[in-house]
């Protein structure tokens, strides 16, 4: 990641985190406010329920009092007192009276709790009511009513029918069911549910809401079981669906009977829809603000980072050019700050580097000429010295032995001619080195070129007075043609092959190898001779350098010149004792290939 991106990321992250922090703080404040409001609403609802419960209880009590004072109750009480009780006579009385008084439950029981008449279970006459106690509270109370089809929760009151010697009690009540819940006036967004604790554990059928059976009752199981165990008011957040809008905060309030037995649990649900909606609005606004901030931050930071990083990037680019050899590169100095000082320093550095390079090239050039002059002088000095001796010998013979002068002259003349020929040879070679012809490119097959060289030296490999040298041809098939001068290549390859043979006076293996490497053709000429030292390898292509006793020192220089003129390069791989390999890389130059092969290629040239 470059500096500009880092700078941009820091800017964007800063803006995003700022917006996120503001959003989190606003959300937290909203949540706390809503929870406070939720608690207040739940408390108000519970208080309302208790008032409603109390009001219903008073209503039930009033109705039971009216029943106890009715003629029907009086007749029943008299029958009980007289001991002439006929259950059949009162079988439907409780039912009819309960219907008149709009009560769900009504029983008349005697002093022992024996049921005289029952509205909710008429067939239960003569049975004892298990819950009955003369010390029942004056106010209405919650109790579990046993019915033929199970049990139900009721709000009941007991009143004594004060007639005769034997007391009779009227026990009336109303059922706590969905109708009771539907009768509660609740604020919008809240609802009441009732769990009738008529057995152990949680039973979904016992959970009611104003519409009847509750959907997904199991969601409230844990809350109800907690109240069943602790008998304490508690609350929980209920997720009715995967949508947060359906979430509800439910407060569970235990409802107990006479002996503090847990008979029911009132569940007050407070919808979180408004809160979730508000929270979503806040998040949406935060998202929009955040996104806008991030876009602005990107734009601004891009601009700012550009101003900061552009000189640095220019410096970096200039440095890359320097490494690629362009030492004359300069960077503009646009400011006087640290970046500007850095640019000035860079410019100074490249200027100094350029000057040093020029000086170095000049020095090297002089040294090269001196070396060439030294070697050329050395080469020329060798024949000049015999010439000098021969001429001095002639002069001395002329002065001291005229009679022998003719003979000396004849001998000296031949010597002089030989040495002069030698000098001419040296000069012609130097001239030849200096005036290497430019390649005339033709279609050349390197395999054929190497085979031609092999055929040329075949006889010399097996000389009777020389240890045998075996030839190994390792030619790639197929080998694509390249554009090259066949004569120059043949001369170069021949020179290298001759060097290789000279390097193996004890015999060995001469290897001629070709291979294709993409658009380059590779030729390797290797021997198994004594090898070269690293220093020899470095100087091997220097003109007039030779490791042989009779070499001119120009052969490999000419080879390098030929290869270089073809756009290729030559290298040497060697270790003392492990032979030497010359590796020649030549470009195929397919765009320079003639349309078809011309006659008189390397093969014919070699022959």
């Amino acid at each position: 990641m470059n500096f500009r991106k880092k700078l941009l990321t820091v800017f964007a992250l800063t803006v995003f985190l700022s917006v996120a922090a503001v959003t989190a703080i606003v959300s937290a404040v909203t949540r706390r406010a809503f929870e406070r409001d939720d608690d207040e609403r739940a408390a108000a609802l519970v208080a309302q329920f208790r008032r409603e419960f109390s009001r219903r209880g008073e209503e039930v009590t009033a109705r039971v009092e009216a029943i106890a004072a009715s003629d029907a109750a009086t007749r029943m009480a008299l029958a009980v007192s007289h001991g002439s009780l006929d259950y059949g006579a009162f079988l439907n009385d409780a039912k009819n009276i309960a219907a008149d008084q709009q009560l769900d439950f009504l029983e008349f029981v005697d002093n022992d709790g024996t049921i005289i008449s029952s509205a909710q279970w008429p067939e239960k006459f003569g049975y004892k009511e298990s819950f009955f106690s003369r010390s029942a509270p004056k106010d209405a109370f919650l109790r579990q009513e046993t019915l033929p089809d199970g049990a139900a929760l009721g709000l009941s009151a007991i009143r004594e029918v004060d007639v005769g010697d034997q007391p009779l009690f009227a026990v009336g009540g109303r059922r706590l069911d969905k109708n009771f819940l539907a009768g509660l006036e609740l604020p919008a967004g809240t609802r009441a549910m009732l769990y009738q604790n008529l057995g152990s554990g949680f039973s979904p059928q016992l959970l009611l809401d104003p519409s009847g059976a509750l959907q997904q009752p199991d969601k409230l199981a844990a809350l109800i079981e907690q109240v069943q165990q602790q008998h304490q008011e508690t609350g929980a957040l209920i997720h009715w669906s995967s949508d947060d809008l359906d979430d509800e905060t439910v407060h569970a309030i235990p409802l107990t009977g006479q002996d503090n037995q847990l008979l029911g649990i009132l569940l007050v649900g407070n919808s979180r829809r408004s809160y979730i909606g508000l929270r979503r609005h806040i998040r949406s606004a935060a998202l929009v603000a955040g996104a806008t901030g991030i876009v602005l931050a990107i734009l601004f930071s891009g601009w700012a980072a550009g101003r900061v990083t552009r000189p640095v990037e220019q410096l970096a680019q200039a440095a890359r050019e320097v490494t690629q050899g362009n030492w004359s590169v300069q960077v503009p100095v646009t400011s006087a700050d640290e970046i500007g000082q850095l640019a000035q320093a860079f410019n100074r550095m490249t200027g100094e580097l350029l000057e040093q390079r020029d000086r170095l090239v000049q020095t090297e050039r002089v040294a090269a000429w001196r070396e060439l002059a030294r070697r050329l002088a050395h080469e020329l000095k060798n024949p000049l010295f015999p010439l000098q001796l021969t001429v001095e010998n002639l002069v001395r013979a002329r002065q001291q032995s005229p009679e022998q002068f003719e003979e000396v002259f004849r001998e000296s003349s031949s010597t002089l001619l030989a040495e002069i020929a030698n000098l001419k040879n040296i000069v012609s070679r130097f001239s030849e080195f200096a005036k290497m012809p430019q390649p005339r490119l033709q279609r050349v097959n390197l395999n054929e070129a190497l085979q031609s060289v092999a055929r040329l030296f075949q006889a010399q490999l097996q000389l009777p007075d020389h240890p045998p040298i075996s030839l190994h041809l390792d030619l790639a098939q197929p080998m694509e043609d390249i554009a090259a001068d066949p004569e120059l290549l043949h001369r170069a390859f021949s020179n290298l092959a001759l060097n290789a043979m000279d390097a193996m006076p004890q015999g060995g293996t001469l290897t001629l190898r070709t291979r294709q490497d993409g658009e380059r053709a590779i030729v390797e000429i290797a021997d198994t001779g004594a090898g070269l030292t690293p220093e020899e390898c470095e100087r091997l292509f220097t003109p007039y350098y030779t490791s042989k006793a009779h070499g001119t020192g120009l052969g490999l220089a000419i080879v390098q010149s030929v290869i270089s003129d073809h756009g290729g390069k030559i290298s040497v791989q060697s270790q003392p004792g492990s032979g030497t390999t010359f590796v020649i890389e030549l470009p195929r130059n397919p765009d320079k290939l003639p349309a078809s092969r011309t006659d008189g290629g390397p093969a014919s040239a070699a022959s």
């Binding site: 006929d86 259950y87 059949g88 079988l91 279970w121 008429p122 067939e123 239960k124 006459f125 003569g126 049975y127 033929p148 089809d149």
Partner: protein, 455 residues
């Protein structure tokens, strides 16, 4: 002095009242309006099955005669057959027909027509006419054949397509199946013309509607549910109740699967407080039943225990607990059945047994109401057994001991627990005179006449 005057006044009023009643003579004419809860879809006697309602049988007796009739003691008496004679072995019987009897359409009631009618009702019998007699041949000795012929199902009918004609005191003039039936007096009835000219029967009426119709003077004779009879009478209505003619019982769907289940069933029988069922829920509309047949028919029914004995129930149940609750089904349209079922479940609970009520037709135990269709004990017992799905008992002989043994065998199968015998009650308006019921609840409408409305 004042007291003596008051006594004289009351005595003179009573004498005047008795004298006034004595001078009111039967007279012909008028229409009798009858309401029934039953709604038969057919009047053909052969469509009367064993569990058919009493009202349907009563209507059939108005239109069709049987060869034999039974008196209040269940003894066969001549009807269309003037006499009968079994041949040795009691397999073949000859019934000599009464002379001069005609169907209501004027056709003479011949032996051929009687034999044809009996063959329709009893396809398994060999019935053929022989001059003025009808000969019936059974596959086995049949001592009770005359009593069997007295059942409404064996009413003699002349079937002419869809038209039916009988020899009874009333002929059908209009018939809307299950809704309304209009009968007209048959002037040439061999028993003599009935007093009223016609009878209009409104069918499918609820008990409450019938009571209302009686109170409003829109019906002269109505049916009253057994549990409402006492209240109806207490309301000043004229209520007539028969001897108990209907059995209410618990019937198990299967035989006991183990000795323990036999004990549970026996314990259930002991746990039920039949007295409370009858006195409270039925408002005295029946009698506690320990046996299948009522005591007035057999004279030995008191030998079967009918009172609750909770201690014995618990003892019989023993230590073995009922593994699962029995389901008890009842007719959901019958409020009395529901109450009896719930009280029975309460009683069973006291004995440590569990009965779970259901309105489903498939249940371990059914609460059933089966009418007793004959005054003949053997026929009545066999019909009861068949109606509740038990194999009718084979009667070894004709003695009361044989009948007792047969009934005991049925009870000891532990398939049925009798609860109550219910009376058939009906209410009659103030203008209805000479109203009477047979002990089996049959109406004798042919003897009824209408007088002025009583105040």
């Amino acid at each position: 002095m004042k007291r003596s005057g008051l006594v004289l006044l009351v005595a003179s009023s009573l004498l005047f009242s008795a004298a006034a009643r004595a001078v009111v003579r039967p007279h012909y004419g008028g229409t009798l309006r009858v309401a029934t809860a039953a709604a038969p879809a057919s009047l053909d006697p052969v469509d009367l099955n064993q569990s058919g309602s009493l009202a349907a049988r009563n209507l059939s007796y108005l239109i069709f005669d049987t060869l034999v009739t039974l008196d209040d003691q269940g003894r066969p008496r001549p009807a269309l057959a003037a006499s009968w004679q079994p041949e040795p072995g009691n397999q073949r019987w000859r019934f000599t027909l009464r002379r001069g009897v005609s169907f209501q359409d004027g056709t003479p009631c011949t032996a051929d027509r009687v034999a044809a009618s009996l063959r329709v009702a009893n396809p398994g019998w060999k019935v053929f006419a022989s001059e003025d007699s009808v000969v019936i041949e059974r596959d086995s000795p049949s001592l009770d054949l005359p009593a069997e012929l007295a059942s409404a199902r064996n009413g003699i009918a002349k079937r002419d397509g869809s038209a039916l004609s009988g020899t009874g005191p009333f002929a059908v003039t209009a018939w809307a199946p299950a809704k309304k039936l209009t009968l007209a007096a048959y002037n040439d009835c061999w028993r003599g013309r009935p007093f009223v000219d016609s009878i209009e029967v409104a069918m499918g009426q609820g008990y409450r509607e019938q009571m209302l119709a009686l109170d409003l003077g829109k019906a002269d004779v109505i049916e009253i549910a057994p549990e409402q009879a006492r209240r109806a009478a207490a309301g000043g209505r004229r209520v007539e109740s028969s001897s108990p003619t209907e059995l209410m019982a618990l019937v198990f769907a299967h035989d006991p699967q183990s000795p323990a289940e036999e004990h549970w069933r026996e314990a259930l029988a002991f746990s039920i407080d039949r007295g409370s069922l009858n006195n409270v829920l039925l408002q005295g509309g029946g009698e506690p039943a320990g046996g299948l047949l009522p005591n007035w028919m057999t004279g030995y029914a008191f030998l079967f225990p009918a009172s609750a004995d909770l201690a014995k129930a618990r003892q019989v149940r023993g230590d073995s607990r009922q593994s699962s609750a029995w389901t008890l089904s009842y007719d959901p349209g019958d409020p009395v059945a529901r109450m009896v079922a719930e009280r029975t479940a309460l009683n069973a609970h006291d004995a440590g047994l569990s009965l779970q009520l259901t309105s489903s037709a498939v249940a371990d135990v059914r609460l059933v109401r089966v009418p007793i269709i004959s005054l003949d004990s053997r026929i009545a017992l066999a019909a009861l057994a068949a109606a509740i799905g038990l194999t009718p008992p084979p009667f070894v002989g004709g003695s009361e001991q044989d009948l007792y043994s047969a009934e005991s065998a049925l009870l000891q199968s532990h398939r049925v627990i009798p609860l109550l015998h219910l009376r058939a009650s009906c209410g009659a308006g103030g203008a209805v005179r000479n109203w009477s019921q047979g002990p089996d609840g049959t109406w004798r409408l042919d003897e009824v006449w209408q007088g002025p409305e009583k105040p």
